[in-house]
């Protein structure tokens, strides 16, 4: 486990959508190999920050660097999982992963099978993803995100709309990945699920980072957890 300081540097990032700024000057450094939970109310800018780090949204101003590269050039090091599944509902899990593996230039089914097995799903399932339960779909979505073995994993609301059991299972999976040396970012409003698991809690409000704490309870400012 290499602990290079600050794998991701965000400096003074502003993201403006017309008359609304989702990010209003975010500056932060994030360490490698740690589990970061990003918390905040709806509209606090969590998702936009994650999308900006993933290279999906270009900041209006400011810069983001990942391992010294821009988000776009660092794309092989980033795994991104959004709240929607990012999978084709009409295809089976294996068919989906095979296609996405192709996008990363990974040939052969072994990698896909391993990825599916690592999220504790059955690679031989032929059901289309659209018929999965929400918890299964989230895990399959995670399998897609880790397909190319990225060093940084960005997850947007991976626990919403799933039952507590599935959520805990997901947390367990993420913990294992962190222990394997990956840097993990989770956007959530369910802070209590990550208490004792995440290394750092990043509190966002109104498009800015307002606090960074090591425990979900130690937060001085910021919203009460689980409001939304």
């Amino acid at each position: 486990m290499t602990n290079t300081p600050s794998i991701i540097t965000v400096s003074n990032v502003i993201k403006q959508f017309g008359r609304f700024a989702a990010l209003r000057g975010v500056t932060a450094e994030f360490d490698a190999g740690r589990f970061h939970a990003i918390l905040g109310d709806n509209g606090a800018g969590k998702t936009t920050l994650l999308r900006a780090i993933a290279g999906l949204a270009h900041p209006t101003s400011g810069t983001i660097s990942i391992l010294g590269k821009t988000p776009r050039t660092a794309c092989r090091d980033i795994g991104y999982m959004a709240h929607p599944s990012l999978l084709y509902d009409e295809m089976s899990g294996m068919e989906n992963l095979r296609y996405f593996a192709g996008l990363y230039g990974i040939a052969g089914d072994d990698t896909c099978r391993e990825a599916i097995a690592s999220v504790r799903l059955d690679p031989t399932l032929t059901r289309p993803v659209g018929q999965y339960s929400q918890g299964m779909r989230q895990r399959m979505s995670l399998a897609r995100a880790i397909l190319h073995d990225p060093r940084v994993l960005l997850l947007d609301e991976p626990f919403s709309n799933v039952d507590v059991h599935s959520a805990r299972e997901m947390v367990g999976l993420l913990k294992t990945m962190r222990d394997a040396g990956k840097t993990i970012f989770v956007v959530t409003h369910q802070a209590q699920l990550l208490e004792g698991v995440a290394d750092e809690f990043v509190w966002m409000q109104a498009g800015q980072i307002i606090d960074r704490t090591s425990s979900a309870r130690a937060a001085g400012v910021g919203p009460t957890e689980g409001v939304q």
């Binding site: 502003i14 403006q16 000057g25 949204a57 307002i210």
Partner: protein
């Protein structure tokens, strides 16, 4: 800069008045068309000005795509909008001219039709700007401007060839211009260019003001709703713009 605007306005007004006098009084009356031919002195300079503005729009769009400079984008919007205004004038005065001369309102003349297509393209450009989410608008619009520019020569050739196959009344052109007419035309063009420049300048300032207001709104929008903590930290992180 602030002083320049009124001075330029006065000069432009004088120039426009003088150009109008030249067009109405000094310019020789055309033999076959009569006085109605004087529409020419508004119609043609408007067209040239519109084309010039669209060209500036294209250049600004390309510059924006390369440099991502918001000022280039602002210039592109301004030129497109003012260009559409001038282009509209061309399309309105064209039929007013055609009617008494050829007895028809519209003719599928090469230049008139190309202008129409150009107008359609730039109206769709303005519609696109209106209907897209603001963060991406400049990029999409700039791309559309490039596509439009590529389209114009093709439109011109297709209509030109179509016309050679389907004989229709020949508009203007042909023959050489009376030198007196050429001079008046140039004076009018100069006057309209100055006028267009002034309008663009005002519109540019309006655009910049609008962006300022949007930015102020954006930076303000969450403060009211979310209370003290965000407000307290705002001045520290506010962008220096």
């Amino acid at each position: 800069m602030k002083r320049l605007f009124p001075i330029l306005s006065v000069i432009t007004a004088a120039l426009l008045a003088y150009a109008l006098y030249e067009a109405m009084v000094v310019a020789p009356t055309e033999r076959t068309m009569g006085d109605v031919q004087r529409i020419f002195y508004y119609h043609v300079p408007s067209a040239w000005t519109a084309f010039l503005l669209f060209m500036v729009n294209l250049v600004a769009s390309v510059v924006y795509l390369i440099r991502r400079n918001p000022k280039a984008d602002a210039l592109a919007v301004v030129c497109a909008e003012v260009g559409v205004v001038f282009c509209t004038i061309v399309l309105v005065t064209g039929p007013i001219w055609a009617r008494p001369v050829w007895g028809i309102w519209w003719t599928w003349d090469v230049r008139l039709t190309t202008t129409l297509v150009l107008w359609l393209i730039y109206v769709s450009y303005l519609v696109l700007r209106r209907f897209s989410d603001s963060a991406q608008t400049p990029v999409l619009a700039a791309v559309l401007a490039i596509f439009g520019a590529l389209d114009v020569p093709l439109v011109y050739f297709s209509i030109w060839f179509f016309r050679t196959q389907h004989p229709q009344p020949v508009i203007g052109g042909g023959g050489s211009l009376d030198p007196g007419m050429g001079r008046v035309l140039l004076i009018n063009w100069l006057a309209f260019c100055c006028f267009a420049f002034l309008v663009c300048w005002s519109r540019y300032r309006l655009e910049m003001l609008q962006r300022e207001v949007e930015e102020a709104h954006a930076m303000e929008s969450l403060v009211g709703a979310d209370g003290v903590s965000a407000k307290a930290s705002l001045p520290l992180n506010r962008s220096p713009r």
